[in-house]
Symmetry: C2
């Protein structure tokens, strides 16, 4: 324990030149206590703290300069809950209901009709194609500024069907602590999600401490137009621009960040290529997977789930010695005690 | 003068919580002397320092929180020279010459034949389409890691035909000082260039102090593939992914940064929409244009230039009161005295 503290302080000195003061204060506080209080002691927690100690020990074989301490996190199922449906899908379905009066044609058009009739079996039968239709219809035809406001309004008012909490209160407390712990050790933290980048950016800074420019995600085509009174606007169209999922994740990391992560955390097969890309770099590496094993406190699912299916990545992770965080075993708490409702 | 210094210190206190220590030391040094020594005193320099004072004065009407102090800079012609051809085009033409032995078919194929024959008149006649052919042929078919090394090798060895200096020594000293001055005042600085993002990222950190993740540019499609021995690679293809120029600049800013800049600097009509987008936000704004007026020390060109044409943006900038930096009048020096050759 003492040794770990010394290591952390040495790393601190090395990081001094480019770590914000705010983080130094936080780190000083953390050094005196457990930096990851919501993680149970055990192999998973030790793998994390050992890696950070090695990467930040000046002169050590695994030392990584601050500029290269890039950490990427999937969002759905890794940073916040993704059941019973991806929260962005819940948002899109709520928006279809709100916008229905302006779209009388939806009454006769599937999958909109099924949703408006409350026939969720029929909605489910429409599969991913149906969900994409909801997203295309509700994420286009407005400016990016208007969409930003619509997202924040929904975040403030919507409640999760099972937990009856704001969706941004269903973030994983252990993972939020991990973000802070990494930042206190000179890491730059990024979200790299299959979710829409414009759905996440309005609230990630407040909820995760991750600013908009460190959020990578899927996106639609936007178009620059001269609006009323010569005021330019960016209009959201219904065309897909980029899908940041599966093999798209290393592509997105390369395009947006331009450096290979040394630390990556995911929870599904959609994160496999990000983890492979991270693992294939030289020097110290950390690859982590959240395994949803706790039906009581959250959900239990892996190989047979439609949402966040974890199959090949679980096998690969186990055989390659990646760190598997078992939610039931490793997490003392799941969600924050206090509600994180406000988005502003 | 005294008042400006006090203002700067007040701003500093406000920014303390999130500005790197390194910047604080730099700022302390700057506060004791002129923060922009390569800018001649006059209206342009005053417009810059007045804006920064206003944006950073706590409690002032134009105060901008640190998180929103986003500054975007075009690269070619704004941060470094772009004559007689864009430096990336010079790179592509050098690469065609190097790769010619592996491409015997180029001897019979225009515009490659013309270039290899040294017939620059014919190359010029091929226009932009010809240049894009050089770029497509030399920027694809290798991994992103290999391309990174090729760029750095070229940066280290190539010399500009007129100035006989490494290309990275043809950066504008006044603009480099401006980047440092803004960062010392809590701004986050970004490159937003029509140039290729993977051509810039290998050297922008060393040369401008701008890390890869703060460089936005044009890009080709990359593809994730499993390479030899199960080691994943990102392959560069010859398809265009995104053109970060003209109306593409606000689109790129929205996609990569996710916030609207409050400060933007460009030099050509390709920057007009970025400047319009910046100007259209609320609160304090700064829009700047570098006007190339110095044929003796650099180049003089605007409305009739093929490279970096400045026509509509010059008219709009003048009529809307944007800041026009007149190179001959406003810049005491153009290039750094010391060579910035090394890229590593």
């Amino acid at each position: 324990m003492k040794r770990a503290m010394v290591t952390r302080r040495t790393a601190l000195a090395g990081a001094l030149a480019s770590v914000p003061l705010q983080s130094l204060w936080l780190d000083a506080a953390l050094a005196q206590s457990d930096p990851l209080p919501s993680w149970n002691d055990g192999a998973t927690k030790k793998a994390i703290t050992d890696f950070v100690a090695r990467a930040t020990t000046q002169g050590g074989a695994d030392f990584v300069p601050v500029a290269e301490r890039i950490a990427t996190f999937d969002n759905d199922g890794t940073m916040w809950c993704e059941q019973p449906v991806y929260f962005q899908v819940a948002f899109a379905m709520d928006r279809v209901r709100v916008l229905a009066p302006q779209h009388p044609e939806w009454k006769a058009k599937q999958p909109f009709k099924a949703l408006l009739d409350g026939d969720m079996k029929e909605v489910a039968a429409a599969g991913e194609k149906g969900l994409l239709a909801f997203i295309a219809a509700t994420h286009s035809g407005m400016t990016v500024d208007d969409f930003h406001r619509i997202v924040l309004d929904w975040i403030d008012s919507a409640r999760h069907p099972r937990f009856k909490r704001p969706y941004t209160s269903l973030i994983y407390q252990p993972m939020v602590e991990l973000l802070g712990y990494l930042r206190a050790n000179g890491f730059k933290t990024f979200i790299v999600s299959g979710g829409g980048v414009e759905f996440m950016r309005p609230w990630t800074d407040k909820v995760y401490g991750i600013p908009p420019e460190q959020v990578v995600g899927s996106s639609g085509v936007t178009r620059f137009e001269m609006g009323a009174g010569g005021k330019p606007v960016l209009m959201k169209t219904d065309q897909v621009e980029f899908v940041d999922d599966g093999p798209g994740k290393p592509v997105g990391i390369n395009r947006f960040i331009g450096r290979r992560p040394i630390f990556a955390f995911g929870n599904s097969d959609g994160d496999l290529q990000m983890l492979q890309w991270t693992a294939a770099g030289s020097g110290a590496r950390f690859m982590g997977i959240v395994h949803h094993t706790d039906a009581e406190r959250e959900y239990a699912y892996d190989r047979n789930s439609h949402v966040g299916r974890l199959d090949k990545a679980l096998d690969d992770g186990r055989s390659r010695g990646w760190t598997i965080a078992d939610m039931k075993r490793d997490w003392r708490v799941i969600f924050p005690a206090e509600l994180t409702s406000g988005s502003r």
